[in-house]
Every structure is written in C-alpha cells, then in structure tokens.
C-alpha cells in the first residue's frame, strides 16, 4: 500500500507539491489527472527519488517502508517503478544488457539468484512478443533511435520484466497512436492482480478507457482537490479542468 501524507516538494526553491494526501491500497490502480503544471510529474519523480526535487514536508511510505529515506535503486528493489514521460536515451548501452543488469541488481538486493543470459533472453523474448515489439529492440541501444511510441513500449517492456509492485506511469499515453495505446494498456493490465498497484498519471481520459482505474484523483495547485470513481474522469472530460478546479476551490 502506498500512503502519502502532507507531501510537499520544491525545485530550486519553487514549491510544486503543497500537501498531497493519497492512499493507494494494494492491488488497486489509481489515476491522477490534472492540468499542466499541477505537479503530476513532480509527484512521480519525488516518489521515485529524483534528486533535483527537495522534499519540504510530509511522508510517503510503501508497505511501511519510508520511500523518502531510500536511494532510487533501493526504491526500485522494493518494487517501485517509474515509467518515464520522456524515456532517456542511453547510447552505447544495449537494451538487453541494461534490462538484465537492472533485473539482476534488483534480484541481488532481494537475496534472489541472478538470471544468466540465456534464461534472461528467453524471458525477454516472451515479453517483447506480447508487446508486439520487434526482436531487434533488445539488441539496439536503450531508446536510441526509437520513435516516441517505441520508447513508451520499451518502458512497458521494462515494467513487464522487472515486475514492480507499484508502477507509476507518467503520461505513458502521450505521443501514442491508438494501436500503441492499446498495446501499452494491455501490457499494464496483464500485470494487474492482488500484488500490483499503479498510479496512472495522465492528462486525458482516453487512457483510462483502456486501463480502468479503481479511483481517480484530481491534482491541482500541488494538492489533490477531488477524488472519486472512474466516472470522475468522464466528468473532467465534459467540464474541463478549469470548471473542476474552480468548483473544488
């Protein structure tokens, strides 16, 4: 279970999050929606440990672990995964090598045995097939020369291989055409289960037709201003953020 209490964070002295309260029970998928600049991506980065952000107050725990006290790699080993809005290119780093290194680092820190190259490739090929990704995606350098859609699919591939217990998807739908959106959503849905929770950050309701959330929260001005069921997303689509935020204030 993810529990966020009164979380405030700033970048370069500029406050972005101003007391976020949010609980995502185990096994649930929650959506965070909100206008540009409301702090959605900041929330994702703060939860995954990006150092440019300074936490100025509050707490965030995952299954009782104090996330804010952990290094990014420790959070990952605990089961937190961030699907980046803008996946980073790593020239000179092969995708398969990257994925295996990451997986084995996590397994090592959990006291599990490491996978050898053969075991790993077998598993990775199964996942690429499921995500309708070409085989050479594993041979190429991480995200280098990938289209926007391929980069997002590569994020979902990493998620499928690393099997996190909490996935934070930061606008994974942006830049995807409708087919890619379906593939990505299927990839997330395949992981759903009693031991998987997700925080789906999105600007549009479109993605939530494919990944149906248990709860929807509206983030505005660095705070959660409304929460509700999946129908809240439709209401937002109808009224727009301006109307919703004005009502909430």
């Amino acid at each position: 279970m993810l529990e966020i209490r009164g979380l405030s964070a700033a970048i370069e002295d500029k406050p972005i999050l101003q007391g976020v309260d949010l609980t995502v029970p185990q096994g649930e998928v929650h959506a965070i929606m909100g206008p540009n600049g409301s702090g959605k991506s900041t929330l994702a980065y703060v939860l995954s440990g990006r150092e440019d952000y300074v936490v100025t107050g509050g707490t965030a725990t995952f299954d009782g672990h104090d996330l804010l006290a952990m290094a990014p790699e420790e959070r990952a080993a605990t089961g937190v995964f961030l699907a980046f809005q803008y996946p980073v290119e790593l020239p000179g780093v092969g995708n398969a090598n990257f994925l295996r290194t990451a997986l084995n680092a996590q397994r090592r820190s959990r006291g599990e045995s490491e996978l050898d190259a053969v075991q790993f490739l077998k598993m990775a090929r199964t996942e690429t097939k499921r995500l309708e990704m070409p085989d050479d995606m594993l041979r190429r350098n991480v995200n280098v020369g990938f289209s926007g859609g391929e980069k997002k699919r590569n994020e979902v591939l990493q998620m499928a291989i690393l099997r996190p217990r909490l996935a934070i998807l930061d606008e994974t739908d942006s830049g995807l055409d409708i087919d890619a959106l379906r593939i990505v959503a299927d990839g997330v849905n395949a992981l759903r289960g009693p031991d998987f929770s997700a925080l789906v950050i999105t600007h549009y309701q479109r993605l939530l037709e494919h990944i149906v959330p248990d709860r929807v929260h509206v983030l505005a001005g660095g705070r959660i201003v409304r929460s509700g069921g999946p129908e809240l997303a439709h209401e937002l689509e109808a009224k727009g953020y301006a109307g919703m935020v004005a009502e909430a204030v």
Binding site: E73, G92, V93
Partner: protein
C-alpha cells in the same frame, strides 16, 4: 654493463657521443639529428624552445629523468610477456628497444628485417622539426622493417615493445604495404618500472592496400611513452588506426598522415583512460594532398583524479584536394573536478569543394541517464560504470575485428579493476 647517465638533453647527447661509433646506419643522418636535437631541446624543459605543437604537453619530467644503458634483459622480459593477450598470430617482440628472436614467432607471409642489420631511416620522418624524432634518429639501434608483398593478405601480426626499469628505447619501425595488400597490426606497448619508449613509425600504404593498426599503450604508470608515426596513403588505400592509451605517466601519440593519391581513407581514432596525475596527448596532422580522400577521427577521453588529456588535431587541405571529407571529434568525460582536457582543432583549407567538420564535447556523467539507470534498481556505482563503459564503447566500436576488440575490452576491464582496487 650498466652506466648511469646524465639527465635531460645533455644526458641523451652524451649517450650518443659514447656509442656513436658502434651505431648502425649513415652517421651523417645521426649527426644531423643530434644537431637538431641540440637546437630544439626537449619542449617544456628549461632550455627547450616554446613551440605551438607542444602547447599543452611539457617534456620537463622526461628532462629531469635519467636512464641507464639498455641491457639485454634476461630476467623480467619473459614475465612481462605473460601479460600479453593470448592470440594465435605471428609475433615480433622488442625488449628494451632490441629485437628478441627467442620471444618472437616471425610471420611467414611478409618480409621482416631488423633495423639493426638494414639501418634504413626511411623517407618520411622529420628529425629537423620534431625533437623526439631527432632523439630517436640519433639513438635508435633496432626496429622492425615489415614489408607486405603485392596482393598478399598478411592477416594479423603482433608487434610488441616491452621495456624494463630505467631503459631508454628508441625503436625505429617501418611498415610497407605493396599495392592491393592487407595487414592487421596489433601494436602492444608495455613494461615494468620507469623507462622511456620513444618509437618512430613510418607507414607506407600503396594503392588499394589496407593497413588496420590497433595500438594498445599499456605502459607502466611511471613510464614515458612518446610515439611518433608518419604515414602516406596512396590511391584508394586505407590506413585505419585505433589507439587505446591507458598507461604511462606522460604519453604522446603523434601521427602525421598524408594522402598522396585520390580516394584514400584514414582513420585516426582513439580512446584515453587516465587517472591519478597521468598526462596523455593525442596529436594528429592529416594532409589532404590528393582529391576525394576521407579522414575520420573520434577520440574519447575518460579522465579521473588529476589526469590531463590533450587533443590536437590538424587537417590541411591542399588547393587541388577537392571532394575532401574530413571529420574530427574529441569527447571528454571528466570524472573529477581536478581532471582537465585541452582541445585544439585546426583546419587549414585551400580547396573550395570540401566537407570538413570538427567538434568537441566536455562533460560529466549525465544526471538524467544516471537517474534512469538507478530508477531501474542499478546501484549508483554500477550505473556510473555502465555509463562510462557506454561512452567508451562508442569509440571502441570503431575496432571491428572481434579478436582485437576483445583485447581492448579486456585492457579496459583491467584498468577499471586496478582503479577499483
């Protein structure tokens, strides 16, 4: 017998006077070189002239060192050779500047002679303008003269320059590829203790010939490695070189390449991994004296601690050298605030239909990339190591021969392990 020497220019000149009568070859060329060396001195040393070509590298530490007469090493040399990569290939071994037949396995497909018996100084080297070439010309006693006959593919040949403590070695190597021939030359420099390696290479690539020259400089951390290479590439010939510089307290890899016929290709790629207070200088001059030739240079530097890397790249395009394609890129990754890179690209173009570009980047590890790796569970130190390897791999990818790439990869790993230790 070993005799201690004076240090610096005087020491080298005294050594020359002492052995002059016994040296092979034309004494007039030696005397001329000695005069040139007396005039130029060692750049950066007290009496040395200030010259632009040595703006970032001072030979003062060399001038302050003294060496003993090279002795034929018995113990030590074979232990050094245990460190050589295990490759099935003919091997030509020099120890302290002298050919060692016991440790060598001569190639059959190509001609091999010793400088000691043939004593040809070659036609390209310029003792009058390069102090180290003057020093080499004055004192050289041995070297390899390799000739690949017309149309022959010599495959892989390994040339080893090994040295022991306090030796000063000035090997003189000549590599000639006749028309349409090919060779892959792996050059290894290594040793034990404080010594000087001052080799001069002359490379002649005839029409349609291809020389792949992979150079691994893995000298002792207290050694000097000062290498000067002259190459001429004739029509449609290729000189494809990659130099990996890991060792020596003070190193300079200098190459002068001239195109003498159209449609030639020259690659002067390299990588330098330096730490502590190592200094390594990568200096090149490429002369496009014929049309439609292409020269490529990508040099990567990984600099830790107080290390200093230098890149000087000069491309000269003559009036008639239309359709020249010249490219130069120097990239440095600084792992410490005290590390330094100096870059000096120079383009001198007298033709109007050419494509020439140069660039340089200097930086630390990219924080976005580092966070991306860590967010996937890869610990900080491992993530940093991955990014540094990736930076280097982009350079090493220029070496397409898998065996040689393996040799370089293992040398990089060794550097890395010593650094971690």
């Amino acid at each position: 017998m070993t005799a201690p020497l004076q240090s610096g220019v005087d020491g080298f000149l005294a050594r020359y006077e002492a052995i002059r009568a016994s040296l092979p070859g034309d004494p007039r060329q030696r005397d001329a070189a000695a005069d040139a060396f007396r005039r130029s001195g060692l750049p950066g040393a007290a009496a040395g002239r200030r010259v632009e070509a040595w703006k970032y590298t001072s030979l003062r530490p060399l001038a302050d060192s003294s060496f003993v007469q090279p002795v034929t090493p018995v113990a030590g040399a074979s232990a050094l050779l245990d460190r050589l990569p295990d490759i099935e290939a003919p091997r030509i071994v020099f120890v302290d500047g002298e050919f060692n037949p016991e440790l060598s396995a001569l190639p059959e497909a190509i001609g091999f002679e010793r400088f000691a018996s043939r004593a040809e100084f070659g036609i390209l080297a310029r003792p009058d303008s390069e102090p180290l070439v003057a020093l080499n010309t004055m004192l050289t006693q041995d070297g390899a003269l390799l000739t690949v006959p017309k149309g022959v593919d010599a495959g892989l040949v390994v040339l080893v320059n090994a040295a022991t403590d306090r030796a000063a070695c000035h090997p003189r190597h000549v590599v000639r590829l006749a028309a349409g021939s090919r060779m892959t030359l792996l050059e290894l420099s290594l040793g034990e203790g404080s010594y000087l390696h001052n080799p001069v290479f002359e490379v002649l690539v005839a029409e349609d010939a291809v020389l792949t020259h992979v150079r691994l400089q893995n000298e002792s951390p207290t050694a000097f490695h000062l290498s000067t290479l002259y190459a001429e590439v004739d029509a449609r010939g290729t000189y494809d070189s990659f130099a990996l510089n890991l060792g020596a307290r003070l190193a300079r890899t200098e190459a002068h390449v001239r195109f003498t016929g159209p449609s030639g290709i020259a690659h002067l790629n390299g990588a330098q991994l330096l730490r502590d207070s190592q200094h390594a200088d990568f200096t090149t001059v490429v002369k496009h004296d014929a049309p439609s030739c292409s020269s490529r240079q990508t040099v990567k530097n990984v600099l830790a601690d107080r290390a200093q890397g230098v890149f000087q790249g000069r491309i000269e395009v003559a009036r008639g050298a239309q359709k020249t394609d010249g490219y130069q890129m120097n990239q440095a990754l600084l792992l410490s605030p005290d590390a330094e890179i100096d870059t000096k690209p120079e383009l001198e173009i007298f033709a109007d239909d050419v494509k020439c570009s140069h660039g340089a980047t200097v930086g630390e590890l990219d924080s976005d990339q580092l966070f991306y790796l860590r967010s996937r569970g890869i610990p900080d130190a491992e993530a940093r190591s991955m990014l540094i390897h990736a930076f280097l791999a982009e350079g090493l990818n220029a070496v397409t021969n898998e065996t040689l790439r393996g040799v370089l990869d293992r040398a990089v790993e060794g550097w890395w392990e010593r650094r971690a230790a």
